[in-house]
Amino acid sequence: MDDVGLSTVLLAMLAGAIRVSTPFLFVALGECLTEKSGRINLGLEGTLVFGAMAAYAVSYETGSPWLGVFVAGLTGVCFGALHGAICKLKGVNDIAIGIALMLFGTGLAFFFGKGYIQPVAPRLEGVQLGSWSTDPSVQKALEVNPLFLIGIALAVVMWWAFRNTRLGLVVRTTGDSAPAALALGINVDLVRFLATAAGGFLAGVGGAFLSLYYPGSWTEGLSSGQGLMAVALVIFARWNPLACFGAALLFGAAGALGPALQSIGISRGYHFFNAAPYLMTLVIMILSISPKRSLRGAPGELSITK
């Protein structure tokens, strides 16, 4: 591969990382919030897919993609609230509920989304950040979606809020020790319910990005595991919202590898590169988790790390 090819690939991967990472970022931040409160929601995959469908449908019917994003978030709240409400019941396992909601959400999205596979809905517009460059490929790479910028801001705010606000302390206490939270007069179930619902909102918005910006259409194969990879990403990021952003970029770059190579004509092994994000998630989990010691920063009440 010559230098031109390499720089093209690197640029395409950077562009891809920015584009592909946004849904990872939103789902990861949502999951991070939920897990900080001591619960795990594996159903975000279903929330993501349903959010993608809802956003596309609303954008098509009303002509407003941002309304679509908002509605996608609201549907996410519904799924999150359902998860939160069911988990409150005695003897119900949050992982199993997550799996059920993943299947239920995906099924509902396919059911209602059948009619929206063909039509073309208005998409979200990107923001040009690369106008300083004369190179059109640089310009294209730096055309970012406002949601990406919102995601970064959100990561910073969440990071700050977890450390410095009373609300952040309440969520962290609930996640670290339910008895301690109880002793402080915190309504543990309510905090977790709200954290799961808010996490669902973010996952729904992440889905809206998928259908309204990149790849930018609604198909049944739109999300294949991003919602689940985001759960692994949160563990990798050690429940730190800022690290979630870095990890999302890394995952985005891995996901962009296949299309980037395709852009310079290497299409052999396309499916192999398709598997790259899953493989990378697995390898990262193997490298970053040790059975001998507990994870730094892990909420003490989390069933997945116990």
């Binding site: 594996l42 359902l82 069911i86 019941l89 005695k90 003897g91 119900v92 396992n93 992982i95 199993a96 509920i97 799996i99 059920a100 909601l101 299947l103 239920f104 959400g105 995906t106 099924g107 509902l108 396919f110 059911f111 059948k114 294949s224 595991g225 689940l228 990879m229 759960v231 692994a232 052999r268 092994g269 499916h271 192999f272 398709n274 598997a275 899953y278 493989l279 998630t281 697995l282 989990m285 193997i286 988790i289 040790s290 059975p291 001998k292 997945i304």
Partner: protein, 365 residues
Amino acid sequence: MADTTVPAPSFAFADAFDRVRRSSEYVVIPLLALLASAVLFSLFLLALGKNPVDFYSLVWRGGFGTSFSWQNTLVRASPLILAGLCVAIPARLGMVVIGGEGALVLGGFAAAVTAIPMVGWSPAPLTLVMMAISAMAVGGLWIGFVGYLRHYRGINETISSLLLSYIAISILNFFVEGALRDPSDPNKPSTMPIGPETMIGPMPGTSVHWGLAAGIVACVAVWVLMNRTTFGFAARITGGNVRAAMAQGLPVGRLVLVSTALAGALVGLAGFFEVAAIHGKANASLIAGYGFTGILVSFLARHNPLAIIPVAIFLGGIDAAGGLVQRRMELPDATVLVLQGLMFVVLLVSETLYGRFAIFKSKGA
């Protein structure tokens, strides 16, 4: 009180009666959950302006009404039985493995790849045995790896098995659209066909392939293994409390590895039957969602291997009726997925009911 005066034989009778009553809780509550989800799904259909009575009568007709639909149902039930076992066996050790789909796909792929060089010279039974062995080996390694990661690396098995499932599907697509694609098949990227002379015929007197028999035998064998052997006993202790099992000196690592490998081998076998009895080659048709429906099968059966058989037939019937419902009621094919998802959610909600009804409690307690 009065019990002390009852003669001994009645004790035994009362005991047995008590046991039936207590275990009936595990039948009655899931049935209640199914009923509740049927009601909720009816409301869903009514909200869409469809007639629920039509829906259920079509499901009955398409799944169980005629001998043709029964055969269709049973053909779908056989991979579901094996996929259900793939969830049920690790569940005994307290693990939630949801990546059966990937092991099924790879098992089927391995079976087809094994058959390709053998077709033409090898007698069909030998080819089939080799296919089945490689399917089970690949499936076993695949889910066994999940068990390894869980026990030795502390990685959550739910996430790793689903990731591996996506990787497995990519591997299949990579090969059938690349190196192993049959150039003479322009329609769907597939491996070379194994040929009609190698394919497994139906069981005598039916049009259902032998995978159903294999699945039923596997369920009985797993039930015996889990309920009548020291292995099963140790597995159940591990599922109850890993630390206690370790303190007892039980070989937890080996139990985890053997159980997950066995689970994977069985779902790999389902992939073998899909190739050897249905498709005749490996292609994307293997990715039919049996692995995911298998999760629901196992949970609905409360991870009991014997209960998996009727539950798989029940869900296979709903699946088989999907096409009929789609055509007659103009509902999308995802209708079945919605119903299954709803059942799963309601079923898990119903878990909170255990121990709440006095009628299921033993008299003494």
